[in-house]
């Protein structure tokens, strides 16, 4: 499609009907849905197939019932219970109901799922997914060996190529332009040239993924710095449920590289130093396949109580040695290769050292079931959408079940595409203000010309160390306070940075500095939300408030940026609360 570009010094202008920011699973699924009918553009800071969806391993949940009895209602229940009842149940129902079609869509697009002997899509077990409301584990995860995310990302990109979708790769979106409270477009920085691009669009979809890099030990890519989430926040959009950050039980010890839960789905067992299968004590019914929050906490507890393995007793062991090597090769080839490459451990014969790793943001930009972004508890911002890990619908509540994110990006990515294109058909373009790029240009020039003393890498390291120490699996008022003070100190020092690369072309030095700015914002929101939620629920464990408190906290948190420092939070953030949508399932105690 022809595009209108007018050169104004080195600012280029573009106009679209639907503009998607992010080319991971959620962004490309939205593009495919929107693509046929409208002028669609996708902006991505990475070439699409480099997005972190490609790192996902284990599978995508859908009650196909290909290998045993299953139902979407059981899936809904598991999702709600897994999320410790903080899930919006209307959204969870959509997730589970639309899962079957989402998997069929992918198969029809060409995704090479593993197959049953009859040629149907094969399914395997995953943590927290059960038959008939918790009776036993169920085989619900559709998979392609242990590279399901890779296959989803490739298949979606292939279909974008087929549809001729217009991509702007290695373009960094750095701002959302709002005109009188309405979204007019985005401003992006082109990595190759250092040029600025202003994109106007009737609909804008954010699909920028997660922000695991606020932590040191993480399964997330270097590029997962939460840009879209932070940009929305800076433009006055609240962030929902940021205290709920998931720690995946099985990261390679010391490195954080993920070993999928599929390892336990296929029969792998967690053991402490004495070889005990300790999960029998914590979740007697489904043991190693309990939800991630419970397993991560159990592991951290084993280590804390001195039962950790290794010279420093600081990890536990994932034992696959009783599995047939042929099964490992067929179903878990990549992750066993990671153990060999990075730890020099042979999983056929040796157990693999593992420890929880920062993995997934349950919280993010608040949306409704049409993927529309909200400016408060229920006001829609017309024309603005978000989907995938950057969004909070909320289908994951306080703790996401494994395989529900690949599902989320497909179901709500598709919805974002569908509703954004529908909106663009009748909407008028919000006028792009003349000075739309000024803020971004000022931000870039400030960093490019910075002559201070602080190094970006040092500040980032101190942030990540503090988050690992103070806001990881276990949290208290004191540790959180320490983290807030540290972040505020780092913010001050951030004003005094210097970068070394002053050039225009491929200036990744500059972009790392800007990404650190996003990380600082998101870390602070996370810690403020952690401190205000004085209870324990799902992934959020407050040692000083160890119980779930449904009277006070059966609500989503909503953090807003304010101009002035707020007395209550001691930061320039205000906290509000939003009711949880409950349809069929009243909160119960969570036992497995």
């Amino acid at each position: 499609m022809p595009q209108q570009e007018t050169a104004d010094s080195n600012i280029t202008y573009h106009t679209f009907d639907v503009l998607i920011v992010g080319a991971g699973g959620a962004g490309m699924r939205a593009a495919i849905e929107a693509g046929a009918d409208a002028k669609v553009g996708v902006i991505s800071k990475l070439f699409p197939t480099r997005s972190h969806t490609g790192a996902a391993q284990g599978g995508m949940a859908a009650a196909l019932a290909n290998v045993e009895e299953d139902s979407w209602e059981w899936h809904t229940f598991d999702t709600v219970k897994g999320g410790d009842y903080l899930v919006d149940q209307d959204a969870a129902e959509i997730l589970a109901k639309e899962s079957v079609q989402a998997v069929i869509d992918l198969e029809n697009m060409g995704l090479p799922f593993n197959r049953t002997p009859e040629g149907k899509i094969d399914q395997r077990r995953f943590g927290g997914h059960t038959r008939d409301h918790g009776k036993a584990p169920v085989r619900r995860s559709c998979y392609a060996a242990d590279r399901t995310g890779h296959m989803i990302l490739q298949t979606l990109y292939q279909n974008c190529v087929k549809l001729g979708i217009d991509f702007y790769n290695e373009f960094y979106v750095l701002d959302l332009v709002m005109n009188d409270g309405k979204p007019a477009g985005v401003v992006a920085y082109e990595l190759a040239t250092g040029d600025i691009h202003v994109f106007s669009s009737k609909s804008i979809v954010f699909a920028t993924g997660g922000f695991g890099k606020i932590y040191k030990t993480t399964s997330n890519a270097h590029t997962l710095t939460g840009d879209g989430v932070a940009i929305a926040f800076r433009r006055g959009i609240p962030l929902e449920d940021m205290e709920f950050y998931q720690f995946h039980p099985t990261g390679l010890a010391g490195l954080g590289i993920l070993l999928s839960e599929a390892a336990r789905g296929e029969g792998g067992i967690l053991r402490n130093a004495s070889g005990e299968r300790f999960m029998e004590r914590y979740a007697p019914t489904i043991k190693d396949l309990a939800p991630r929050d419970m397993v991560a906490r159990a592991m951290a507890n084993e280590v804390r109580e001195g039962r950790g393995a290794g010279p420093n007793k600081d990890y536990v062991l994932l034992d696959l040695t009783h599995l047939e090597p042929a099964v490992i090769d067929a179903k878990l080839p990549d992750i066993t290769e990671f153990a060999r490459t990075y730890l020099g451990v042979e999983p056929y014969t040796e157990p693999v050292p593992v420890f929880p790793t920062a993995h997934y943001a349950m919280g993010g930009i608040p949306t409704n079931i049409k993927a529309e972004v909200l400016s408060d508890n229920d006001t829609v911002i017309p024309g603005l959408y978000a989907a995938g890990e950057c969004a909070c619908v909320s289908v994951h509540g306080a703790n996401r079940l494994g395989t529900n994110s690949l599902l989320d990006i497909n179901v709500f990515g598709k919805r974002a595409g569908q509703y954004s294109v529908e909106y663009a058909k009748t909407a008028k373009q919000v006028p792009m203000p003349a000075n739309a790029a000024d803020d971004v240009i000022a931000m870039i020039e400030k960093v490019r010309k910075s002559k201070g003393k602080e190094k970006i890498a040092q500040l980032r390291k101190e942030l990540q160390d503090s988050m690992d120490k103070n806001a990881q699996v276990f949290r208290t008022e004191e540790t959180l306070q320490e983290a807030i003070e540290k972040i505020q100190e780092l913010r001050g020092r951030y004003e005094n940075i210097a970068i070394q690369d002053q050039g225009k072309r491929f200036n990744t030095d500059l972009l790392e500095a800007i990404e650190l700015g996003f990380l600082l914002d998101l870390a602070e929101v996370t810690v403020v939300a952690c401190r205000e939620r004085r209870e324990s629920r799902g992934a959020h464990l407050r040692e000083d408030y160890p119980d779930r408190d449904d009277k006070k906290f059966m609500v989503h948190s909503m953090v807003y940026q304010q101009d002035k420092v707020q007395k209550k939070t001691g930061t320039n953030m205000k906290i509000g609360w939003k009711p949880v949508v409950v349809t069929n399932y009243q909160p119960m105690e969570r036992k497995y």
């Binding site: 070439f47 010890a253 890498a457 491929f506």
Partner: protein, 244 residues
């Protein structure tokens, strides 16, 4: 059994000699030495980060996942194409400096970053998507044997390590190159696909599979362990037989 993970090792100094080129100031690429303190279990990517973060912020390279799944950081390390994030320092000869340069055959943009567009174009040219005339409402069936037929070539992460290790590609940038053929293979041998003839026609071109000289560089370079040369041979056979 338990302490397999963390044998206590000391750090040591390694020298990296990196081929650098900044188009805004240099007329020619130049080799620059850096000494960094590393552990044997660190990746070459860690060493590059250490240089960028502590010594010279202008050192430029692509990277994202840091564990060999996104395909961003293929580069020539000691003369061999590899992913910097999948190459451990201890697996190199550390008594010698480590030479790092961009992959060959694609235009260098800055330091270790090359222009990948010609590579992506070759990929797009082979129609890298399922071509099927049916409009199923349910999943299509595929036997595990049919699924296994193209398993190996589904692993490709488009890192370009294979194509840029190929001497034919170095001398003839028009050659489709191994990665495009690998991705054609992935569809030609998929029982659900009907586009084999189209792709075979494309690859029967003078810049297609017949340029392959079976030097096996691609297979050795592939960080995903794909049997690239075998895949190319299978596509050649499919052409000779008329189709898959």
């Amino acid at each position: 059994m338990a302490n397999a993970a963390a044998p206590v090792i000391d750090s040591f100094t390694v020298t990296l000699i990196i081929r650098r080129f900044n188009p805004e100031v240099d007329s020619e690429p130049k080799w620059v030495d850096y000494d960094v303190e590393m552990y044997g279990t660190d990746r070459v990517l860690d060493a590059l980060h250490k240089i960028k973060w502590e010594q010279d912020g202008s050192l430029t390279f692509r990277r994202s996942c840091a564990h060999g799944v996104c395909g961003s950081d293929a580069m020539r390390i000691n003369g061999r194409n590899r992913l910097a994030c999948k190459t451990l320092i201890k697996d190199l000869d550390i008594s010698q400096p480590i030479y790092v340069e961009p992959i060959k055959g694609l235009p260098v943009e800055k330091d270790l970053i090359v222009d990948m567009n010609p590579f992506y174009q070759a990929y797009k040219d082979i129609n890298p998507f399922l071509i099927a005339s049916d409009k199923p409402t349910k999943e299509r069936l595929q036997s595990p044997e049919d699924r296994a037929r193209y398993d190996d070539t589904t692993k490709c992460i488009l890192c370009a390590a294979c194509t840029t290790s190929c001497p034919v590609f170095w001398t003839d940038g028009q050659y489709f190159g191994p990665a495009a053929i690998v991705n054609a293979h992935r569809f030609i041998f998929d029982s659900r696909d009907e586009g084999a003839e189209l792709r075979i026609d494309i690859l029967n071109d003078k810049e297609g599979v017949w340029r392959c000289r079976t030097t096996f560089n691609c297979t050795e370079a592939c960080p995903r362990g794909i049997e690239v040369t075998k895949a190319i041979a299978e596509v050649k056979q499919a052409i000779l037989r008329g189709r898959a």
